[in-house]
Symmetry: C2
Subunit: 195 residues, 2 copies
């Protein structure tokens, strides 16, 4: 049986990891590749891998993002070294002959638009969470957000495609001085049962 | 700056971790509590924590699940020590005065049924991914699935509530002899850009 990771690793991934509001760099292209090359191994239904990513770093791209943000998210996002925009491709099934070659999985989705959209959103959300955990595992801090105008972001970053945005994650090295108090969590008994 | 976790930890979480099809136990109540107490710290929008969990272990509960499963998922799920059923509560916002006490976040969702449903599903999916990674971090293997009749599962496990199922995760110690070949992943350039 595989042992649990050491306590310091569990701290870095979950127990001590926090949603950060202030960040410093650097976050290089090589760092972004390393985060992707780790998170990409997280499981998705039929290996569908429906998430699509834009790593927003340049001044020009940040300015494209600015008017799409909720007011409370503007300053921290404009200041972050990189903001990962995470979206899903509802036509992901076109790639299944390559990604899931041992079954005709494409046929499960063709002509079933709502089922394909549901599958794309669910699995891209899983991949968004894998990105957060992978970034933490590699020593970065995250500031995930869903407070933005997704339709406007789609127009600014995915015009002419069917891709739909659903999450932003600021990336960098967090400033502990800018943390808010941590929110409480449910106890096991409140949200779990063992049947 | 925080260093990356050691290579063995990255292997356990992502690089070498696989979706398993055969499992052995034991997975105790205390193990389930430890997995929950780790994954619960993963971030959700406005600390909404909308996921709800049933850990299906008894023969009776497994038999309730059986007719809801796609044929290809029956044998491995019936044999797994525990199957985690993950669902979302679209009325999660009732708990926000306690979970997110510094703003009136409940008012963002009351009367906005589709926005509340979207937020619940997205964030519960993130929590589903945290559960997978947390279980791996604690030395367990996972077999996530979305091939089941969710409406029938809701009737069998959440009757009389608004809670909606979306994912199953078999849990235990995986049998490497029952692994399938690993599916390929996209290259960075295929699904990412740096703007």
């Amino acid at each position: 049986m595989t042992p649990a990771l050491p306590a310091a690793a569990l701290d870095q991934l979950f127990f001590a990891a926090r949603t950060h509001n202030g960040f410093s760099g650097p976050v290089s292209d090589e760092d972004l590749r390393q985060i992707f090359d780790l998170m990409k191994w997280g499981p998705t239904s039929a290996n569908s891998c429906p998430a699509r990513f834009v790593f927003i770093r340049s001044k020009e791209a940040k300015e494209r993002l600015r008017p799409c943000l909720m007011p409370g998210n503007v300053d921290k996002t404009m200041a972050a070294p990189v903001t990962a925009l995470i979206a899903y491709d509802p036509t992901f099934y076109e790639h299944l002959p390559r990604l899931f070659p041992h079954a005709d999985a494409k046929s499960w989705f063709v002509g079933k638009e709502e089922f394909a959209r549901h599958t794309a959103f669910l699995n891209a959300a899983l991949q968004g969470a894998y990105l957060i955990v992978a970034a933490r595992a590699l020593g970065f801090d995250c500031g995930p957000m869903s407070g933005f105008d997704a339709a406007r972001v789609d127009q600014a970053f995915f015009a002419g495609t069917p891709v739909k945005s659903f999450m932003l994650v600021n990336l960098g090295h967090g400033d502990p001085a800018k943390l808010y108090p941590r929110g409480p969590r449910f106890a096991f008994e409140e949200v779990c049962r063992v049947d």
